[in-house]
Amino acid sequence: MGDMSDIASRGYAHPEVLVSTDWVAAHLNDPSVRLIESNEDTLLYSSGHIPGAVHVDWTTDLNDPLRRDYITREGFSALMSRIGVTPDTTVVFYGDKNNWWACYAFWVFQLFGHTNAKVMDGGRLKWEKEGRELTREVPKITPTTYEAPERNDAEIRAFRDEVLRHVEKKGQLVDVRSPEEYAGTRLHMPDYPNEGALRGGHIPGAKNIPWAKAINPEDGTFKTAAELRELYLNNASLQPDQPTIAYCRIGERSSHTWFALRYLLGFKNVKNYDGSWTEWGNSVGLPIER
């Protein structure tokens, strides 16, 4: 069977946050588990998803429709009710692009303290490569009652002024964008449209570790703890006991790195700066390094 023991043998600080495709296949009919697909491509879920999985869309479900912010307590309660989740439900995220959006949704769920949450290692890519079942049938969900607490931004979310203080204290920063964005030679991802910042470069002192380096590209699974330590600790000299802030362009790629640092390597204090470069590179007077 391999996979579960495989995840357990990779040396992660919190291996329980990852489940294998085998585990998911064995829990398809488990009423205490809710599978949640989150993708960049909004057509993908409708084109076929894991049986029983619900769709959470990062733009329409997790973001405030007006302000640049996440949904409120009321919005999150309504979302959880709609997707049939109770406080006791284990939610398991998966999606396209190496679980990029799955980790982003996982992070937003943690702002509301739904800690009973996991990510399916390898995401859609691994599930599809293994030839497992996909369906277009959207599950019929009986709405639940879910009373979410107020969103708690203090623990895992960083705001601009806090990042500035962190820079002044020479705190650890991880820039997870492409080397070209980090260097300031481009203002957006390769092959992506320019969703603008007026200035290019990076936050002073940030180390550049592109987010997808944490992944085995052939099946989308996370690298072992030893490989991740080589990447983040040995190569980039990050220290797990030091406060760390990750950022990218709008905070989605960096939620993937946040997940890897916090749960797989056990960093004590990691925050995701979701304002990221679209805020920093557009703000008047903030320090920039190239």
């Binding site: 057509l43 084109s47 092959d191 449209p193």
Partner: protein, 143 residues
């Protein structure tokens, strides 16, 4: 210049759909109609000169001149998650195959926005518009 009639019909159909779910269903029905380039036109490994640049779905495009001087478009989409690319390929084939090259060359990438609207996400837009641009370039070269 007016758009080719079959393309205009498809755009009109999308324009009537305000419910995102209906739009998604229509896009999926096009994706389901997608047929890969037949082996008499091209076989793997496909020539790199037919690869659409900037398209994550690894889309390939061919424009084959027919005896009557019109073009027949063919596509391949190598990424199994390339649903949007398959939908657009099926739409372009349906709307443009059988037209003379100079008419196909008039079609501009902004049709992508009219077709996908809110279903277009950050990365996809560039790749899909690049597919239209690739068709346009082949048609120009054939004109």
């Amino acid at each position: 210049m007016a758009l080719p009639p079959r393309l205009q019909e498809i755009l009109d159909l999308f324009a009537t759909m305000d419910d995102p779910a209906d739009r998604t269903d229509l896009l999926l029905s096009f994706a389901d109609q997608f047929r890969e380039v037949p082996p008499e036109v091209a076989t793997r490994p496909f020539g790199r000169d037919h690869l659409v640049p900037h398209c994550e779905s690894e889309a390939y495009v061919w424009a084959i001149r027919q005896p009557d001087g019109t073009l027949k478009l063919h596509f391949a989409v190598e990424n199994p998650s390339g649903i949007s690319a398959k939908a657009l390929a099926a739409i372009l084939d349906r709307a443009l195959s059988g037209l003379p090259p100079d008419q196909i060359a008039e079609v501009t990438p902004d049709i992508v926005e009219a077709i996908f609207r809110q279903n277009i996400s950050m990365g996809k837009g560039m790749g899909l518009m690049s597919m239209v641009q690739a068709v346009r370039s082949l048609a120009k070269a054939a004109a």
